[in-house]
Symmetry: C2
Amino acid sequence: MSIVDYLPPNPIIINVTATAADAIEAMIRRGMGAAAIVDEHGIVAGIFTERDVMTRVALSGRDPHEIPITDVMTTPVVLATRSTSLAEATSVMINYQRRHLPITEDDGRLIGILSIRHVLERKVDELTAQIAASANM
Amino acid sequence: MSIVDYLPPNPIIINVTATAADAIEAMIRRGMGAAAIVDEHGIVAGIFTERDVMTRVALSGRDPHEIPITDVMTTPVVLATRSTSLAEATSVMINYQRRHLPITEDDGRLIGILSIRHVLERKVDELTAQIAASANM
């Protein structure tokens, strides 16, 4: 199974010219904790998460409608490509303490955002199925 | 194993008289995504998470130093006690779409905050160990 099979559909994609408020509104509307920030070619420039909202926006004293998203996104972004193994991607997330990891094509265009929680949920399901299968052998 | 064994040590505990900024500062300082809000008897009155920072504080136009934490915490809080099973607590978190669940004594005093991510990580470790053990039998 490829890392791409672990990606939730329809990631939130925000342009580098947007404001923090634009990204936060999209994340609230979609009930998601992360957005990929891309340039005009669809190349990933950064990632913005609810952790960034808390650490960089909430107590800044600035109006989020006036904050360029590029001021508060995390960059240079740690990312992985279609050919990265799930184990590698997971260990990158753990080592860099990131809960979200953008997965891109080799040219940097976004495929989706891997979430550690989603990976762990799938892993629990797979291991449980594996145990059930071996019990039936 | 009891649910208490899954609780990370030293939860963030904030008094009901505090402001949103007090809670956010503690969460940033400790690198944690949730705080329990307790009254003067240590009884849990609510929970405040980085999701609440995003949905209730960031775009409110209010200064977090002026927002009573009781205005933006989640309450009535869904909670569990020492005797709740891990399976029950996990299903409560999934059904209510909560990533954090306060665990209390029967009288409502906080023991700790269960995190779905932490539970999933432990579950992966346990299942992996179980598979390794049965492979060695």
